[in-house]
């Protein structure tokens, strides 16, 4: 890491003494902090979501992605092994893969035709020996010293994760037992992609990391269900946290009433009954799991969330596009063995979230309102996060809490070294 940058920043930046109940707005606007996040978080000891395994099903497939703002390419080699490298030629730094996806035997930079194997090893340099004995690389040029910078990768539950650190524990340990269990519940079966889009939001990436963990705002900002009088019986719920607080699940369960014979025998979830919806089939759903959880949004540090709300399964990946821009990628999924009817229900429920989501489209603008509202504030101005207490602890039975947001900041402070 850049000791000089870190040093000068550490001298001027102090976390408020109240801890993770106070979040300095400066964290969203300070370019030195943004640069340090790339060193300590995105290049640090965390697992970053890279892509889905179904993005690269065949040997030779590649998919470009981003870790922070760092361009990365993920490949599958002839043996079926997955690799990830910084998508930056070892020669002059040009992007090697221009297309977002494709299939290649080698990755060749278009600028000077430096060519790499699918694991990132340099295997060819144009005119290495010159032309007609003139020019060319020095005699001691060693291709082994000029490969694409590699990330460690791990495929896990249909997703590919990457890290720049040798110290990151395997993904299940990084998540902890409870988080690992829930990811396996939702994604531990062959997946198929039902849809894909992104939305660009005009604020720092951490405001979305907060927002996706913010269970307090759900029924206050998002009023679709109450407007349509949708009878949600599934209001029991709470917040589960990993032991370190970095990752969390906000979940809702079917209430006791819903487990009576009347509901247990019904094939269709009761959510839309007696609603004022003119197209109530949008909420047609079926109970997929025995544990009674009907809605869950799982946030994985630093920039991933997995939703299974009713039957709407989606992976959300948010990527910084500069200090004040965030691109949120929505990958809507089903299982490979879904019936047509199940796909129809997941498709209709796709209306609830995403850039045009009836329930949650407000999230596209609300964080920008924070960004704009905090402009020109004093350097020590802070957010106030004491709903549900001042600690980072699971919350059984209530989602009127900011505990998982505090958990994110606890992880952030740990990784950034902000004592």
């Amino acid at each position: 890491m850049t000791e000089i940058a870190a040093h000068s920043l550490d001298n001027s930046f102090r976390w408020p003494k109240e801890g993770v109940t106070r979040i300095p707005y400066r964290l969203y606007t300070d370019p030195d902090i943004y640069a340090l996040e790339h060193e300590r978080i995105f290049r640090g000891a965390v697992w970053n979501f890279l892509c889905l395994e179904i993005d690269i099903p065949n040997s030779g497939d590649f998919k470009t992605t981003f870790v922070g703002e760092i361009p990365v390419v993920v490949t599958r080699d002839a043996n079926g092994d997955v690799h990830a490298m910084v998508n930056r030629c070892a020669h002059k730094g040009s992007l090697v893969c221009l297309q977002e996806r494709g299939n290649r035997e080698h990755l060749t930079c278009v600028y000077h035709s430096w060519s790499y194997d699918l694991d990132g090893q340099l295997n060819g340099v144009a005119f290495r020996n010159g032309i007609r004995g003139k020019g060319g690389m020095p005699k001691d040029f060693d291709p082994k010293k000029h490969r694409l910078e590699a990330l460690r990768v791990q495929a896990y539950c249909g997703m590919v994760f990457g890290t720049f650190s040798n110290d990151t524990a395997p993904v299940p340990e990084f998540l902890g037992k409870a988080m690992d269990h829930h990811v396996r519940r939702n994604l531990g079966r062959p997946l198929k992609l039902l849809g894909f889009h992104s939305q660009v939001m005009k604020h720092n990436w951490k405001l979305y990391a907060e927002n996706v963990r913010d269970s307090y705002h759900a029924t206050l900002l998002h009023t679709f269900y109450t407007t349509f009088n949708v009878n949600r019986l599934d209001m029991d719920g709470g917040i589960a946290l990993s032991d370190d607080g970095w990752h969390s699940i906000s979940y809702a369960k079917r209430a006791t009433l819903d487990e009576s014979d009347e509901y247990a025998n019904a094939k269709v979830h009761s959510a839309q009954y007696d609603s004022q919806l003119k197209g109530p089939e949008m909420l047609d759903a079926w109970p997929e799991f025995e544990d009674g959880i009907t809605h869950s949004i799982q946030a994985v540090f630093p920039s991933l969330a997995i939703q299974l709300t009713l039957n709407s399964l989606a992976v959300r990946h948010f990527v910084p596009r500069g200090i004040d821009r965030t691109e949120l990628f929505w990958m809507y999924l089903g299982y490979e063995d879904d019936t047509e009817e199940q796909t129809r229900m997941r498709t209709n429920q796709g209306n609830l979230t995403g850039a045009g989501g009836l329930v949650s489209l407000e999230d596209g603008c609300i964080n920008e309102f924070v960004e704009r509202g905090t402009r020109g504030s004093p350097v020590d101005a802070v957010e106030f996060l004491e709903m549900g207490g001042r600690d980072v602890a699971p919350s059984e039975g209530s989602r009127a809490t900011e505990t998982s947001i505090r958990g994110f900041w606890q992880g952030y402070r740990d990784v950034m070294g902000f004592a």
Binding site: H197, F228, L277, G279, M282, G350, E362
Partner: protein, 167 residues
């Protein structure tokens, strides 16, 4: 009335084309003028409406960005936008090319129409919000043409901020 090969009277193509083109213009003007309650009325009761990226459309994906299977879901969109959803005030301005129409049968046309839509925010920020093509199936069995299907294929898969008005 012309009479086709099967002996069935057909309304003159030219007249129908004018009616369809007028309906297309009324559709975008009602959205641009914030007369959004009129939007579902351009569809048959069983009409289908979808906004999807070009990539998603070409890959045959089921899920785009907006998906209304039947007029009821469109009416719910309108009510949600008016009463539930929170967003910064903005207006669209659609600019369309002349539709390329194709007569499928006595009562059905298909059409492709390219469009650009500009978005103006309350503070005056203006930018191109989207461009792409309408791919339509139009029912002309009644005096007023109606969409049986309108698929809005966006060139970009990236939505700026959010999408609440239909396109």
């Amino acid at each position: 009335m012309a009479v086709n090969a099967a002996g069935i009277a057909e309304m003159d193509d030219a007249l129908l084309r004018i009616r369809i083109e007028n309906m297309f213009a009324d559709y975008v003007h009602s959205i641009d003028d914030d007369q959004i309650e009129a939007w579902p009325e351009f569809f048959n009761d069983s009409g289908f409406y979808q906004i999807i990226s070009r990539e998603g459309y070409e890959a045959g994906h089921a899920i785009g960005v907006m998906h209304c299977d039947g007029k009821g879901m469109m009416m719910d969109r309108v009510k949600a936008m008016r009463e539930a959803n929170i967003f910064e005030p903005h207006r669209y301005c659609h600019v369309m090319e002349r539709p390329r129409l194709h007569r499928n049968s006595t009562n059905a046309f298909s059409a492709r129409t390219n469009f650009i839509v500009n978005r103006t925010m309350q503070n005056g920020d203006m930018e191109t919000y989207g461009c792409g093509k309408y791919l339509d199936l139009i029912d002309v069995s009644n005096d007023v043409p109606r969409f049986q299907r309108r698929i809005v294929v966006l060139d970009s898969r990236r939505i700026d901020i959010l999408l609440v008005y239909p396109l």
